[in-house]
């Protein structure tokens, strides 16, 4: 390198540093501010439970966000602000009672399972806030807590349950997926009992879905695969501990079409509630909340209820 080149190089470096510094300053000046709106209806749980959630989740999922100085330095502050905004939108411990009681319980199970899967707190956050990590002992406390608050059983014997009005015409979900009866001739791929929300389920797969399982070709599932889940409220256990299905609750459908449903990982979702099969979801975006949670089953192609064994 001769003297002239050296000089040019130094100038360019200085200009570059100047640009970077100025943008850094501008970024700081425009750095998003995260306000803390009032706490209106705070989550109340046992002290040991609340303590864990406060330490690990409240920075994002509450109006008591307590950011460290390095969270406020751009460009990190942009990511942090976006995370807090999105997290509060999903659920907010400071406005807990704004969601119906039954949904609160469902959220608590969702919360436990997100921690269980290592998805929450966000890993990029625990990297810089190691004290926010939930330890296995703390997770056990949370699991105990949700199990304790959820003991549901529906009254009644299936045979005596009055038949309610049935749908007059074929119900259709807002995204075009219509209810159909044919699943009753399909294979049962699994059956589940959920103490978490007091339901019993049977999961059916069409021929394409069953073949995909048999050939272990579920990453991704082939187009045309359909999975149907029928859900009943569980009755109280009988004298021998048998928990039998009571009232019909709902039916949920997943239809594989990688192109058509590209926005939700290639799965089309539909849900029909009650014997009159009322379609669930007012706008097509309802399916976003379905796939968000089904991300926890990413390793099995976003389907939870398939028969499995450990990989090794």
């Amino acid at each position: 390198m001769n003297a002239l080149e050296k000089h040019r190089y130094r100038n360019a470096a200085a200009i570059l540093a100047g640009i970077l510094f100025t943008s850094f300053v501008v970024l700081q000046a425009n750095s998003p501010q995260i306000g803390n709106p009032p706490v209106t209806s705070e989550f109340h749980g046992p002290e040991e439970v609340t303590r864990i959630l406060k330490r690990s989740c409240y920075d994002c999922h509450s109006n008591e966000t307590n950011l460290r100085w390095y969270d406020k330095v751009a460009p990190f502050s942009y990511k942090v602000a976006a995370d807090v905004e999105e997290a509060r939108k999903r659920f907010n411990f400071s406005e807990w009672d704004s969601i119906p009681k039954a949904d609160q319980e469902g959220k608590l199970w969702y919360i436990v399972n997100m921690i269980d899967a290592g998805r929450m707190p966000l890993p990029e956050y625990t990297a810089t806030h190691p004290s926010a990590r939930v330890t296995p002992e703390e997770l056990a406390i949370l699991k105990n807590y949700v199990t304790g608050i959820s003991q549901h059983y529906a009254a009644g014997d299936t045979a005596r349950i009055a038949e309610k009005a049935r749908a007059a015409s074929v119900p259709k979900s807002i995204n075009g997926i219509a209810y159909f009866d044919d699943y009753k001739n399909w294979k049962v791929i699994s059956t589940t009992g959920r103490p978490d929300n007091g339901t019993s389920r049977i999961i059916y797969g069409n021929d394409i879905a069953v073949k995909a399982l048999e050939e272990n070709k579920i990453l991704p599932w082939p187009d045309g695969a359909v999975v149907v889940k029928v859900v009943w409220n569980s009755q109280a256990p009988d004298a021998w501990g048998n928990v039998k299905p009571g009232n019909f609750n709902n039916i949920q459908i997943m239809v594989r079409d990688a192109k058509k449903f590209a926005g939700t990982e290639g799965w089309g979702f539909a849900r029909f509630n009650g014997l009159d099969l009322k379609p669930y979801g007012k706008t097509v975006s309802f399916a976003t909340s379905c796939i968000n949670c089904h991300q926890l089953a990413k390793g099995t192609g976003f389907v939870f209820d398939i028969p499995t064994r450990p990989q090794h």
């Binding site: 199970w109 436990v112 399972n113 269980d116 899967a117 949700v146 199990t147 959820s150 299936t158 045979a159 349950i161 038949e163 049935r166 749908a167 209810y179 009753k184 294979k187 049962v188 699994s190 059956t191 589940t192 009992g193 959920r194 103490p195 978490d196 929300n197 019993s200 049977i202 069953v210 399982l213 048999e214 272990n216 579920i218 029928v230 009943w232 256990p237 021998w240 501990g241 048998n242 928990v243 039998k244 299905p245 009232n247 019909f248 039916i251 014997l275 099969l277 926890l296 089953a297 390793g299 099995t300 939870f304 209820d305 398939i306 028969p307 499995t308 064994r309 450990p310 990989q311 090794h312």
Partner: protein, 150 residues
């Protein structure tokens, strides 16, 4: 250096093996129903089992009713699996390995219907007073009411 890489790979392999969310399909647990219909299902947290009761058209037609008499031609199959915690969702239990397949058949005999009972292939016919253990299972299976479907 080489040993370090081997060490890291070993750790990775170990953690991969122990990740409970790394799963392979187990299609051998799926029951081939051969024209039978689902009548009902139930699970039991004491015995850690989960079951689905299947039946042919005749059995399904009768399972909705409260009655003791059975008509010749009915075939019922009760499949029982292990109940295990769903590896992908804490709070849900799912079927595991198949434990047993019980079959109850009703056929016409000279003096009324003959009830047959078989468990995993060991069939035993009994008219009137069945072998006591079987009689208990037969009446348990007959007592199941059909689930309400839309």
């Amino acid at each position: 250096m080489k040993s370090l890489i081997t060490f890291i790979l070993a750790i990775l392999a170990l953690t991969a093996c122990h990740d409970p969310r790394e799963l392979t399909p187990a299609p051998e647990t799926i029951f081939t129903e051969n024209g039978l219909h689902v009548i009902t299902s139930f699970h039991n947290n004491l015995t850690r089992t989960i079951s689905v009761l299947y039946g042919n058209d005749d059995a399904l037609a009768n399972a909705g009713k409260e009655r003791d008499a059975h008509t010749p031609g009915e075939v019922l199959k009760l499949i029982t699996w292990d109940l295990k915690q769903n590896p992908l969702w804490f709070g849900s239990n799912i079927n595991g390995r198949v434990q047993s397949v019980e079959t109850v058949t009703v056929s016409a005999g000279p003096s009324g219907p003959v009830i047959g009972y078989a468990k995993d292939g060991n069939s035993q016919k009994a008219s009137g007073n069945a072998v006591s253990g079987n009689a208990e299972r037969i009446s348990f299976i007959f007592a199941q009411r059909a689930s309400v479907f839309p």
